[in-house]
Assembly symmetry: C2
Homo-oligomer: 408 residues x 2
Amino acid sequence: MAQVLARPRLISLAAGFTDDATLPVSETRRVLGRLLARRSTGEPALQYGSTPGLPALRRQTAARVRAQDAAAGAERLPEARFDPEAVLITHGSQQLLYLVTEVLCDPGDIVLVEDPTYFVFLGILQSHGVQTRGVALEADGPDLSRLAAVLDRLRRAGRLDRVKLLYLVSYHQNPTGTTTSFAKKAAMLELLRHYERRAGHPIYLLEDAAYRELRFAGPDTTSALVAPGGAARVIYAGTYSKPFATGVRVGFGLLPEPVRRVVLRVKGNHDFGTFSLGQHLLAAALESGVYDRHVARLRARYAAKAGWMRAAMRRHFPPAVTWVEPRGGMYVWARLPRGVHTGPRSAVFQRALNADVLYVPGRLCYAPDPTRRAPDHELRLSFGHAGEQAIRTGLRRLGRVLAETCGS
Amino acid sequence: MAQVLARPRLISLAAGFTDDATLPVSETRRVLGRLLARRSTGEPALQYGSTPGLPALRRQTAARVRAQDAAAGAERLPEARFDPEAVLITHGSQQLLYLVTEVLCDPGDIVLVEDPTYFVFLGILQSHGVQTRGVALEADGPDLSRLAAVLDRLRRAGRLDRVKLLYLVSYHQNPTGTTTSFAKKAAMLELLRHYERRAGHPIYLLEDAAYRELRFAGPDTTSALVAPGGAARVIYAGTYSKPFATGVRVGFGLLPEPVRRVVLRVKGNHDFGTFSLGQHLLAAALESGVYDRHVARLRARYAAKAGWMRAAMRRHFPPAVTWVEPRGGMYVWARLPRGVHTGPRSAVFQRALNADVLYVPGRLCYAPDPTRRAPDHELRLSFGHAGEQAIRTGLRRLGRVLAETCGS
């Protein structure tokens, strides 16, 4: 495998990296140059900060999410949820996911996830000995009747007391590109509240909004923070890394009490605070408009790349392969006929490798769940890292493999 | 308390922050300016890296520790321990301490620590449900006969199987300034190896070398990495943050197998890698000599500050108060007569607060240990953050309090 990956001709449509060409090199140079031009602004950027994060960035973060929800049409904006005090700045949003899991979950607990879901989060859950149940996805988010059925089955098995969390990648989901509608978020919170009484403790909705700012088509969707019951039960995770620069790992969370307090304490043990330089860089980029201008360029670029991918898939993929066109993020989820497998040992994967093109096998994105069999006929393609030529060539190669294996 | 801390006149000799005036603002601007002047060097600094860290920085780190040990007179330099592959770059060395604890310790396990020790590490241990046993310090490190007695008592109680780690802040220790001699490191490893047979598993020596580069008097001491048995049992933690800029959290570890492999996996779950920007900044600063020139200036500055502190203590402290003069780091540990307490509710602490000067009560630096009573007549003073005037004024105020409470 390592040998294959080292091939010079290999085109990876697997990695979720952002596009090198979009990285804001000169913008970062300018912002940091200004920040470090005077000792009064340079010293705080090079000194320890506090564990919750830079106050200015926490204020900007609360205001930014609030403004996004207002623009998306939120009818109510509960002040407590957009209080800078509720914000914790983390070393990437990944760290927030880890901290929340560490704080809320004990070995043997159960976390509900989308089917399929962000596979790195599955690694975090596994490392904490947490079990998972998958909830099938529809075009507008998790299937509510399936969610109810999962919870009801757990209730009947007397295991509701182990359910701590529902994890939802709510915007342009990794891996499927799905965005969950606000109506569904509200309905999910209501369902969780219903079962919470039997559970005997809160069941939180962990809304991972990592791709929210990478929307390039259609309107924004309101976050679960503003849904009824969201104020006390929604943990909202976001990031500045993917929209700006992945080498500057600055993520954030908006957390309800008492989760915020405990997560903060554990964060203090992890690292007593995210590196100041990145927080000051982001705060200055947000303040000056550099960040927003960059995000606008990035969206246009990803829209173009999604377009190239769409055109190439239409041209090269056999009709038996279907996919949903993404409106943001950096992934396309493709479905082959049910009998055609895509896993690491499958003919499709091996032939793709031989043709020097790499994808993420869909089954890796399904959580372990003894109550259902994970599908094995899907694949994740990313237009994040690859450039135009790589996208076209990669999909032509993959199309040839699929034509051979799925029939044309 | 919060009200007191907000007083404008308050001088804190408590915080372990570095000195604002020493932060390398223009140096960082220059290094980052060069790095971000070209896309070929700017893009990797703004892109995701790999979980173990930037290969160049891992090579530099291995070579740097090796060169320090060679210069300190090491007679053997086991190649495997200075292999870049053994290096893991972390979000501050604090993260490494956390990861090692998470990987090696289960609730109910026991970690041996110095008496007193770095109190933030005690918080990490507590959060993992780990118990502690303290080993008294002598001028050249832990008292070996006490270490043997602690291990022997645990053996007799049938609890050796719970001992996983000995934690040693080996250079200019926080809080006492003690540097552990190489002979003692070697003897400790031999002792651990002896009891390991009964424990039924490895007992690691976690050498926290956070202050090694902040030496301003006397020769350097060889690390435990090169002691007999050190190759397989020493986990060496270091940092670039304190010597360069605490706002750029870049620490590192040199880890033996299989610890390295497991810590790496858990690090992947925490954040899949330390932010690239800081790693590229440090690699460039090391490569260009900017880092070494800065460390030389910092050492001179801390030597001067330690001198001011020494002079002020001699002038203002009553003869009943004793201390050891540090040869590095940023702390002075002072001992009052045994009957005079220094804890947060003590007359000394309260009077000091009323006089607008703050220190760290010594007892906070003692691990919970049911087998001994923690001393309560010591205090930690830091010359890290305070400037010359603050040091002089703070110690004059504190001297007055001590004269009242300890007699002159």
